[in-house]
């Protein structure tokens, strides 16, 4: 089972840039362009690893160490995500409170690193990121809580098989919780309407502003870590809230079919994300808390619905 664990971590982190590539390709197609190929992010990362770095004179060890810490912590996120439903034995990283805490730690470290160089952009980028992250942490918690209440356990990996066996009326709270989870997903991964990852205007940046000072291999690590975070959210959303996948009585076949089903579900979720991203504009910063609290309220509604 340890092999499965390591396999899961390595495969998922190698897959993460592909997901970003697919999202960019879909967005380009919706804009009537051709767009870069799906494996473009791999070329980007490879190039960045082979470039030199220019570091600010005021940067301290926090600036230098944070990319490695973020990358390692994103592995810890993968350790807690479900890929082969009903299979995995090492569940110690799967507690959803731990996952929310790890995401909080990643945001904390990135915010501190953004302020380390003393540039004005990093400062207000960190301010905005921590504002949104503070509110989203509660929403994310409340979107996973109804599922925990319905299945009577807090470990995400163990929850999935139970969600798969729910009846329609018991499943309704999970679906409402998914809507709240979707809002938290869009915020934490920096999608429109929360943050435009491709913007060049520093006054509109949230995530980008904190990494303006990074270059070379450290930039590659941070980009990879945020790709990992995106993949984590997508896979968790696909496999926890819609965990149905057939059980063919051979271990090998079930695993393969499970992975294929996960990929298909992830792809559908990506299409929905890209659709929403291409349809609306980025919201004003002070309108975002309304949207985040809506996600929280959806979570509370789901809890109430589960009690009935």
């Amino acid at each position: 089972m340890i092999i499965l664990f390591i396999f899961k971590i390595i495969v998922l982190s190698l897959l993460a840039p592909l997901l970003i590539g697919v999202v960019r390709k879909m967005k380009a197609l919706m804009q009537n362009r051709q767009g870069a190929s799906i494996i473009q992010p791999y070329f980007d990362l490879w190039k960045l690893f082979h470039k030199d770095e220019v570091i600010a004179t005021d940067a301290s060890w926090i600036f230098l160490a944070t990319p490695y810490l973020l990358f390692g912590l994103s592995f810890a996120l993968f350790a807690g995500v479900i890929l082969f439903i009903g299979f995995e034995q090492i569940t110690v990283f799967g507690d959803f409170i731990l996952l929310v805490g790890t995401l909080g730690l990643m945001a904390f470290l990135l915010a501190i690193a953004g302020m380390d160089t003393g540039s004005a952009f990093g400062g207000f980028g960190s301010s905005r990121e921590m504002t949104l992250s503070a509110l989203t942490e509660g929403t994310l918690f409340f979107s996973l809580l109804p599922v925990a209440l319905v299945t009577h356990m807090t470990n995400v990996i163990a929850m999935a098989p139970f969600v798969a066996s729910l009846s329609i009326s018991s499943y309704l709270p999970v679906f409402i919780a998914f809507l709240g989870y979707f809002i938290a997903l869009m915020c934490e991964t920096g999608r429109i309407p929360f943050d435009n990852a491709a913007t060049h205007l520093e006054l509109t940046m949230i995530h980008e502003a904190m990494i303006l000072e990074y270059s070379g291999k450290r930039l590659a690590l941070i980009e990879w870590a945020s790709a990992n975070k995106f993949l984590f959210f997508v896979v968790l959303g696909a496999n926890l809230f819609f965990p149905w996948s057939p059980d063919l009585h051979s271990i090998f076949l079930t695993a393969i079919v499970g992975i294929i089903f996960s990929l298909v579900k992830a792809l559908i979720l990506l299409m929905v994300i890209v659709f929403i991203e291409s349809s609306i504009a980025k919201l004003r910063l002070f309108r975002l808390p309304d949207l985040i609290f809506t996600g929280y309220i959806l979570g509370v509604i789901a809890i109430i619905a589960s009690g009935l």
């Binding site: 362009r33 051709q34 190929s37 473009q40 190039k47 470039k51 303006l212 930039l219």
Partner: protein, 176 residues
């Protein structure tokens, strides 16, 4: 809903790679780029555009690079916000005296290996402002330039084909 039907109904307007690979107006200033650098940037090129006092005509053409006709993104070329993320600096405009230090600082902020391209007649030697008291006189006076793209302004097609020639024509796989 009409938005989505329009997205599906609109025809593709991309200029195909075959057309692009023919024209080329670029001048090389320094020695040929090393093979290693070319291989490094062939898959992915990050460009930071620096406006060193230009008439903005070149910027208009540069912003057209990312539209649905030219779509530089399909070749892996994208624009970035910070010189620390950039591989190539595209400098436009005759370097006005006030922008000379800023241009130098931008050059220093870009990590090695890097390419500098002077876009437009103004950037090459001053263009229509040649001899003016307010300019330094071309980008090469401030930072070392590798390539020059003449024109006032050069059209996006010329800029794109020049970029592709700098990278010696991306292999057919991810084009057209």
């Amino acid at each position: 809903m009409s938005l989505y039907s329009k997205i599906i109904a609109t025809k593709r307007t991309l200029i195909p790679f075959s057309t692009l690979s023919q024209e080329n107006d670029i001048t090389q200033v320094k020695e040929k780029l090393g093979k290693k650098i070319k291989n490094l940037f062939k898959g992915s090129l990050a460009i930071r555009e620096v406006d060193a006092g230009s008439t903005n005509a070149e910027e208009h053409e540069l912003t057209a690079l990312a539209n649905t006709f030219y779509d530089s993104e399909r070749f892996g070329i994208h624009f970035v916000a910070s010189p620390r993320h950039a591989d190539m600096l595209m400098v436009t405009g005759p370097v006005s005296r006030n922008m000379a230090i800023a241009l130098k600082k931008t050059y220093e902020a870009t990590p090695d290996p890097k390419i500098v391209v002077a876009v437009g007649d103004g950037a090459i030697d001053g263009g229509i402002f040649k001899g003016s008291y307010a300019i330094v006189g071309g980008v090469h006076e401030v930072i070392p330039v590798h390539f020059e793209i003449p024109g006032d302004p050069p059209s996006p097609k010329v800029i794109l084909t020049s970029l592709l020639h700098i990278l010696e024509l991306i292999e057919g796989g991810n084009a057209a």
